[in-house]
Subunit: 107 residues, 2 copies
């Protein structure tokens, strides 16, 4: 299955955050999330493992008890059920990849 970033459907999540579902299969799903400066991805958790990669911009990431500033080319791993979130310091985009896929994103 090949999915094209430009033709993927974008969903406005409000608060300056938009989500675009990219390629996925049962075991893995890629999602592009864009943030306006100051937008917040609230701290939350889920049973999926996750890797986030900074495509553009600058973020303050909270993963577990750790707080780090991350920018283009940085990535982090979030284990299942670990609380994590970001605050966007400079307008940008994250690529979030989950295993297994996020069924909840399709509804």
């Amino acid at each position: 299955m090949i999915k094209y970033g430009n033709s993927a459907t974008e969903k406005n999540l409000g608060g300056g955050v938009c989500r675009k579902i990219l390629a996925f299969g049962e075991e893995i799903m890629a999602v592009e999330v864009s943030f306006e400066e100051g937008a917040v991805g609230s701290v939350h958790s889920h049973p999926h493992s996750q890797i986030s990669y900074v495509l553009e911009g600058r973020f303050e990431a909270r993963i577990g008890g750790e707080v780090k500033e991350i920018s283009q080319g940085d990535s982090y791993y979030t284990e299942p059920d670990m609380p994590h979130g970001v605050v966007c310091l400079e307008k940008g985009k994250l690529l979030d990849v989950f295993t297994p896929m996020r069924m909840d994103f399709l509804s």
Copy 2:
């Protein structure tokens, strides 16, 4: 676990291809692969599911029987054991994410 793109170790695989292991856990691993123009990621397969995302450049991707030209922002999903490979048409970089992690990349 947070890994920084710039401090990750880069491995020269030869033929104009370099690989940098980024964040990972047991279930998921992110890898940045850079290609010189004309460099080839030969068609191969593995039991891991994979998503590839084009960070920069332009590639001809072969996934299963399908051949597609992909560029920045495009992504594709490769199911377990499906033959896949790329030819780099314009110097660039892929972000490859695997589930489970690639133990073989650590040795």
